[in-house]
């Protein structure tokens, strides 16, 4: 496909990853205008034959609902937030979502820390800049960021912070931390 010259609006993509129910949608909703998006999931062999897929040439899909967030920094500069689906059966979407992403926020719940291992492995392997934001749920014991860093075996340059994804101010700090980290990674790579 041919592309247009670069006087067009600039769009940046940030991913929000983490286990099921860790607060990804809440974080996106706290800081941006949420928009619904329908996408397709390739049907597994098991559902083929159960679902009627006649007439759909060479592609067997079912639609999956997901949300994304949009933050307009100024006219012509928009940041998009995409939550990576938490369930394993949606892993097929990760590569598409991650392509060209500026960076990722990995949301962690200290009561289920292992839930964010797959996200961390994924972004480490892809070389996508990421930070870990520990969502402080009511009633959950608070942990220091350094303890979380050790528990997750993170590289020293990966920022770790505590947050409350329901609060807009906190969500802001999370995103600013990520973009700052991405900027640092970018300038380090250019040196």
């Amino acid at each position: 496909m041919a592309f247009a010259p670069s006087d067009e609006p600039v769009a940046l993509k940030i991913l929000v990853a983490g286990g099921f129910g860790v607060g990804k949608t809440t974080l996106v909703g706290a800081i941006s205008e949420i928009r619904p998006l329908r996408t397709e999931e390739v049907l597994s062999d098991r559902s083929v034959g159960v679902d009627d897929i006649d007439g759909v040439e060479g592609k067997t899909t079912t639609t999956v609902a997901m949300d994304f967030g949009r933050i307009t920094i100024r006219e012509g500069l928009v940041v998009y937030l995409f939550g990576t689906p938490g369930q394993e059966r949606f892993w097929f979407m990760w590569d598409e979502l991650s392509y060209g992403a500026l960076g990722a926020v990995v949301l962690a719940d200290t009561r289920r820390l292992t839930d964010c291992f797959p996200s961390i492995d994924y972004f480490e392997q892809r070389g996508t800049p990421f930070i870990v934001a520990v969502n402080c749920f009511d009633g959950a014991e608070r942990h220091e960021p350094d303890d979380v860093r050790v528990a997750l075996d993170l590289d020293p340059e990966v920022p770790v912070l505590l947050c409350d994804v329901r609060r807009r101010a906190s969500a802001k700090v999370v995103l600013v931390t990520l973009v700052e980290h991405a900027l640092k990674t970018l300038t380090a790579a250019q040196r």
Partner: protein, 116 residues
């Protein structure tokens, strides 16, 4: 984002059953803009494509277009691919793919987020 899968539908009826087009690899945040060229007399574009042309008049991302027309992403990609093949729209990949986002843009984003 963690919702269960929706019902099985036949969204590709709108694309004449085609699930492949030049729009296949369009990034979610690729920017689409109508060229303003009127469609050729002998080409028929459907109401969905007409809407896409309208939405993309001042530039819109693939994700925004899909959300606005409320059609699955794969269908929207096929429709956008067709419009592109007919010269009715231009498409630009996200700035993070080529070239890398500039330091200036990222600083602008940081300041913009702080000011929210």
């Amino acid at each position: 984002m963690d919702e269960e899968a929706g019902p099985v539908v036949r969204p590709f009826a709108l694309t004449g059953g085609r699930a492949r087009s030049s729009g296949d690899n369009l990034d979610l945040i690729a920017m689409v803009r109508s060229t303003g060229t009127p469609p050729h007399g002998d080409t028929t574009i459907g109401p969905e494509q007409r809407r896409i042309l309208e939405i993309a008049r001042s530039g819109a991302s693939v994700a925004d277009i899909a959300s606005d027309v409320d059609l699955p992403l794969g269908v929207v990609r096929v429709l956008i691919g067709d419009l592109h093949d007919q010269g009715l729209i231009v498409v630009r990949p996200p700035v993070t793919v080529a070239p890398q986002p500039s330091e200036r843009i990222l600083k602008e984003v940081i300041n913009g987020l702080r000011a929210l």
